[in-house]
Symmetry: C2
Subunit: 582 residues, 2 copies
C-alpha cells in the first residue's frame, strides 16, 4: 500500500468513527499540515464543516456550537502557533464543561526539536485543561492500525461528553505528501468489520443516590425551617421543572442565576426569586434573610452579593449538588457535597421528603423580591441605560429563543433585569472562566446550531472578538447583537480602582473611542444606533425578521450606570429596612 | 504594617528592581486582579507603560518591542483566560528567542480550585515554552520579603535576556483589597540597602572557542575548496561586517537570509548571494553548485529550495554555529555544532585561517545569482504583482530604517526580491514558529521603540490581528503597512492542495472578501489602494512623512503569482543549463 493510501485509510476511518459516534460538526482553520484531516472532514457527507481563519475565534465558535447542541464539536488546525490560539477557549471549555475534540496536526518525529519550520512541542501543550491527551501513531498499513484509529476516535468522543464534559486533544504527526485520495475502494471502511455502528459501544450510568443516602440527607435537614435553593448555571432543560416542583412542595425560595434556565419557561412559579442580587447587597437585609440551610445546584451564581450572603452565614448547613465531580465552593465554608444527577436528585427529594417550612419565610423573600423589582423597574425618561436595554431584550425576544450574554457588566446587567417569564428562553454565557474574549464567536457558534441568537455584550468584549464577525458574513448566520457601548470597562466603576483619579481612565476605564459602525458594515451587517428603550425593542423585533447579522448599539455612560445602581440599591434597602422597623 | 502597605512595598520593590536592571517598557492589559502591578508600572517614572486591551495583541506587541530593542519587555494581565491569550506570542518568543517577562495576576491559594470566578490553574500554564516559571509568595511584611521580591525581579530580568533569550513567567497571588498607596514613605526603597544598583549584579560571559578548538575546525576544513557560508536570522548588528570579512578573505559565497541583516548595510559586497532561492529550485543546478562544506550561522533560512540543496548534499561537511545552545538542523544531516558567539567566531576564523578556495567557485555563484536577479527583475507593464510591491518597498525605504515582514508568502516574496543594498535596513519577522498571527502588533511593537516601521504582510495575516491596529490609533505610532491582498492564502497555490478542485477554495484558498478600507478608517488611519509599482513607491514615500498609521493596499492574484514564479524559475533554469551546456 502506498503512502497516500495508508494516510487516506488512517484518516477516513478516524473521521468516520467520530461520525458513527455522533459527530455532526467540525470547525477547521486553514493550514497545510492539517490537510488530511481538513479534506476528510469536508468530504464526509454527515459532517458540516465550518472554516474559520482566526483559530482563537474558531475555538470559541466550536465552544458556542457545542454549548448549544450539548454535543462534542471537532476543532482542526495546522501545527505551530495556530494551536496556541485555541488555548483561551480550551481553558473556558474546561471550566464551563463543554465537550470539544481538538485535533492538531504536527510534524512527524524526525522534524521535531531541530528548528524545522512551524514545528513546536505540541505534546500536552494544553496542560491540565484537557481531560485526555493522546499522541497519535504515524499512519501505517494494516487493519490493526484502522482498529486503533477507530478506537481512539470513539474514546475521544466518549471522554469529551461524559461526566464533567470537557476537552480532549489528539496530536497527529503527518508526513508529506499530505494529500488524501477518496477515489480508493471502500475508503471509509475496514474490510472485516461493519463501520455503521461504533467500534466501542458504551452504556454509561449517571450518579444516583441510594435510598439510604437520601434518607440521611433528609435527616440532616429535619427541623431546619429556613431553607434556600440556589441554582447556578445549568444546561439540562428538564432540571427547571424538577427543582421548581421540589421548591413548591417544600415551600422554599429558589435563587435562580440567569444561566440556571430556571427564570424562564412554562414551569415558572412565584417561588423563583430573581431580584436577590439587589437585596443581598445590604448586611442587615442579609441578616433578616439568614438561612438554616442552602441547597445549591451547580456552580456559584454570578451575583457577588450572593457570595456575601453565604460568607455571612457560615453556620448554615450548605449542600452543593454536582452532576459528576468537583468541589466548587469559593467561600470555603463547611459544605456537604452531593455527587448526583441534579434532576433525578430533585425528584428523589420531592418524593421522599415531606419537609414543612414556615410559610412566612417564603413570603418574606417574595415580598422583598417584589420591592427590589419595583425599584429596578422604575421608569424614568432620561437617556437609556443598561437596565432599559436588557429589559428591551427580554420583552422582545420571542418564545423558544436563545440569548448569549457577555461577561463582566453584561451578565451582571442581565442578572439584575431578567425577570422570570413563561417564555422559553435559553440563556448561555462563557461562565467557566468569565473571560471577555471570544464571546462574539461563541454566540455565532450557538447560531450555527440552526437557531437565531441574540447576543448581549459590552464594547470591550465586542472589540476583543471582532474577527469572529467574519463567520457571520461568510455563513450568513442569524445573529442579533445588542452592543452596550459604555466606551470602556464599566465594571471598574463599581470597584475601588475608580478612586484612583491619576491612572483610572488609562488603566481601567480604557475607552476605545471606536465607531463600530465601520466594522459592522465591513462584514456586511445591518447597523443601527438605538436611543430609547422603545427604539431598542423595535429594532430587535425588526432584526428577528432579517437574514444574517444585525448590530443594535446602545451608548451608555459608565459613571451614570454605577451611580444609578448605587441609588437603586439604597432605595431598596431603605424601603425594606424602614418597613421592617414599622 | 497594614495590608495595603505590605502589598505596596512588595510590588514597588519588585517593579523598581526590574527598572534598576534595565527595564524600560511594560505592556499592560486591563483587569482587576492585576491592579497592584498595573498601577506600580504606570506610576514608576522610568517605565513607559503601554495599555493594550486584547491580550493576544498585547503579547505580540511586547514581542515586537523586545525584538527591536533587544531588551526584555514586561507583560501584565489579570487572571483567567486573559493569560491564555498570551500563549501564541510566548510560543513565538521561545522559538525566536525574544526576551519577555510575563507577570500574571492570580487569586490567592484559598480561592483556587473551588470554582471562584476567573480563577484557573496558572501554575506552569505555558509549559516548556518558558525558560523559567516561579510562583511568587503572598506579600508579607518585613525586609526579607523585599529582598526576596528584588531577587526574583533581578533573576527574571537576567534569565530572560541571557543565553538563548526567551520568556520568564511569574505568577502573583494577590488578596483583596488590591489598591496600593504610593504616598507611603520610601515606598520604592528597602531601608537598609541602596536600590539604585541591582541587588544581584552579574558578569555574564559569552561562549568563545579556544585556540585549539579553532585549529581543529580549520584542520577539518583544510583542502575543501567549495565552501558556502549561510546566514539565517540574526540580530547582532556587528555580525554582518564580521561574516562578510571572513567570506571575502576565504573567497566564499554568503547565502544570506532576508532576516540575517547581511543583505543590507555599508559592508555589502559581491560575495553576498541573495538570489539562491530561485537558483536552488532545480536539481541539476543544485548539483552544479555541490559544496564541500557549509558553515551556517543561526537557524535555517526561509528558502525551501535551500533545504533541498542541503538534503541533496548530505556528504558535505556541515557546521552550524549557535550563539548559545540548540540543535537546529531540520534535514537531520550529519552536522558539527559550534556553540560560540558568532561575531567573535567569524573574527577568530578570519584571523587564524588562510583558507584558499578556487576563484571559479565564487565566480560561478555570482554569475548564476546575476542571471536569477535579471529574470526576477524583468519589468513588464501588466498589473502589479507581489514582486513589484516588494521592490517598491526596498527602493523607497530610507537608510536607517526598519521593515517588519509577515510570514507565509510575504517573507518568501521578500526573500525573492530583497536585493542587497548599502542602505542600512533592519528586517524583522516572527520567524520562530512562522505564525500568521500577531504580526500587526509585532510591527507596532517595533514602532514603540521609537522608530518608523514598514510592515509588509498579506491579507490573512492582516485580518488575524486587526485588533492590533487599535494601538496605532491610541498611541499614534508611525506605522506604514504594505498590505498585499490576494484575497486568501496565496501560499497554497504553490502546494499540491491546489490540485483538489472540489475543496481548494473553501479549505485553503479561503478568500475573505473584505474591504479593509473600513477597518483602517475605523482606527483613524490613512488608506490608499495602489495599482502600479510607481504608485506604491510614491504612496510609501508620502507615508513616511505622515504621522500615525498608513495602509497601502496592493491587490494581487494568487494563481497569477504562482504561475509567474514558476515561469521565472523555468527561465532561470533554462538560461543557466543551456549556458553551461554550450
Amino acid at each position: 500500500m502506498n503512502h497516500t493510501e495508508v494516510l487516506t485509510r488512517y484518516v477516513t476511518n478516524f473521521v468516520d468513527e467520530l461520525v458513527v459516534n455522533g459527530l455532526t460538526d467540525a470547525v477547521i482553520s486553514p493550514g497545510s499540515r492539517s490537510t488530511p484531516l481538513a479534506l476528510t472532514l469536508a468530504e464526509h457527507k454527515e459532517i458540516k464543516d465550518w472554516v474559520i481563519i482566526d483559530e482563537r475565534s474558531a475555538a470559541f465558535f466550536a465552544l458556542g456550537l457545542a454549548k448549544k447542541t450539548k454535543r462534542p464539536v471537532v476543532l482542526v488546525c495546522t501545527s505551530g502557533t495556530a494551536t496556541a490560539n485555541y488555548y483561551p477557549a480550551i481553558v473556558e471549555a474546561y471550566h464551563s464543561r463543554v465537550p470539544l475534540i481538538v485535533l492538531t496536526a504536527d510534524r512527524p518525529h524526525e522534524l521535531r526539536g531541530i528548528g524545522a519550520p512551524q514545528a513546536i512541542d505540541q505534546i500536552k501543550m494544553y496542560g491540565d485543561f484537557v481531560k485526555w491527551f493522546h499522541e497519535m501513531a504515524l499512519p501505517e498499513a494494516g487493519t490493526a492500525m484502522l482498529h486503533y484509529v477507530r478506537n481512539k476516535a470513539a474514546s475521544a468522543y466518549h471522554i469529551a461528553k461524559e461526566g464533567n464534559q470537557g476537552v480532549v486533544h489528539l496530536n497527529f504527526p503527518f508526513r508529506e505528501p499530505l494529500m488524501v485520495d477518496f477515489s480508493l475502494n471502500d475508503v471509509w471502511e475496514i474490510n472485516d468489520i461493519s463501520c455503521t455502528s461504533p467500534i466501542l459501544p458504551t452504556f454509561e450510568g449517571k450518579k444516583h443516590l441510594s435510598k439510604q443516602q437520601v434518607e440521611e440527607i433528609l435527616r440532616q435537614l429535619a427541623g431546619k425551617q429556613r431553607g434556600v435553593i440556589v441554582c447556578g448555571p445549568q444546561t439540562d432543560l428538564h432540571f427547571p421543572v424538577a427543582v421548581t416542583k421540589l421548591a413548591e412542595k417544600w415551600g422554599l425560595p429558589i435563587l435562580a442565576d440567569p444561566l440556571s434556565q430556571v427564570r424562564s419557561g412554562a414551569h415558572v412559579s412565584d417561588v423563583i426569586i430573581e431580584g436577590y442580587d439587589a437585596l443581598l447587597r445590604n448586611k442587615t437585609i442579609r441578616e433578616k434573610l439568614k438561612p438554616d440551610f442552602i441547597i445549591r445546584f451547580g456552580a456559584m451564581p454570578v451575583s457577588k452579593a450572593y457570595s456575601f450572603y453565604v460568607k455571612q452565614h457560615q453556620d448554615a448547613l450548605q449542600m452543593v449538588v454536582e452532576n459528576d465531580e468537583g468541589f466548587r465552593e469559593p467561600t470555603n465554608n463547611p459544605t456537604t457535597f452531593i455527587f448526583a444527577e441534579p434532576t433525578t436528585y430533585c425528584e428523589a427529594l420531592a418524593d421522599a421528603g415531606t419537609e414543612t417550612t414556615s410559610k412566612e419565610w417564603l413570603q418574606l423573600w417574595k415580598q422583598f423580591n417584589d420591592i427590589a423589582k419595583m425599584h429596578l423597574n422604575d421608569q424614568s425618561d432620561i437617556e437609556i441605560r443598561e437596565g432599559e436595554a436588557i429589559r428591551a431584550v427580554m420583552d422582545s425576544t420571542p418564545n423558544q429563543s436563545t440569548i448569549f450574554v457577555g461577561n463582566s457588566m453584561a451578565i451582571r446587567d442581565l442578572d439584575s433585569f431578567f425577570w422570570k417569564t413563561d417564555k422559553q428562553i435559553e440563556v448561555l454565557a462563557n461562565r467557566g472562566a468569565n473571560g471577555i474574549d471570544g464571546v462574539v464567536s461563541s454566540g455565532l457558534g450557538a447560531c450555527a446550531a440552526g437557531v437565531r441568537v441574540t447576543l448581549v455584550l459590552g464594547d470591550l468584549s465586542f472589540f476583543h472578538d471582532m474577527n469572529g464577525l467574519h463567520a457571520a458574513m461568510h455563513y450568513q448566520l442569524p445573529l442579533t447583537i445588542l452592543l452596550i457601548n459604555n466606551n470602556g470597562g464599566g465594571i471598574f466603576s463599581f470597584l475601588s480602582q475608580a478612586d484612583d483619579k491619576k491612572h483610572f481612565e488609562a488603566l481601567f476605564g480604557t475607552p476605545l473611542h471606536i465607531d463600530f459602525k465601520y466594522v459592522v458594515h465591513m462584514y456586511g451587517g445591518y447597523y443601527v444606533h438605538a436611543k430609547t428603550e422603545v427604539d431598542v425593542k423595535q429594532k430587535l423585533i425588526e432584526s428577528y425578521n432579517r437574514e444574517g447579522l444585525s448590530v443594535i448599539e446602545v451608548k451608555t455612560n459608565r459613571d451614570m450606570n454605577a451611580n444609578w445602581h448605587k441609588t437603586k440599591w439604597q432605595a431598596i434597602e431603605q424601603e425594606i429596612l424602614e418597613e421592617r422597623n414599622r
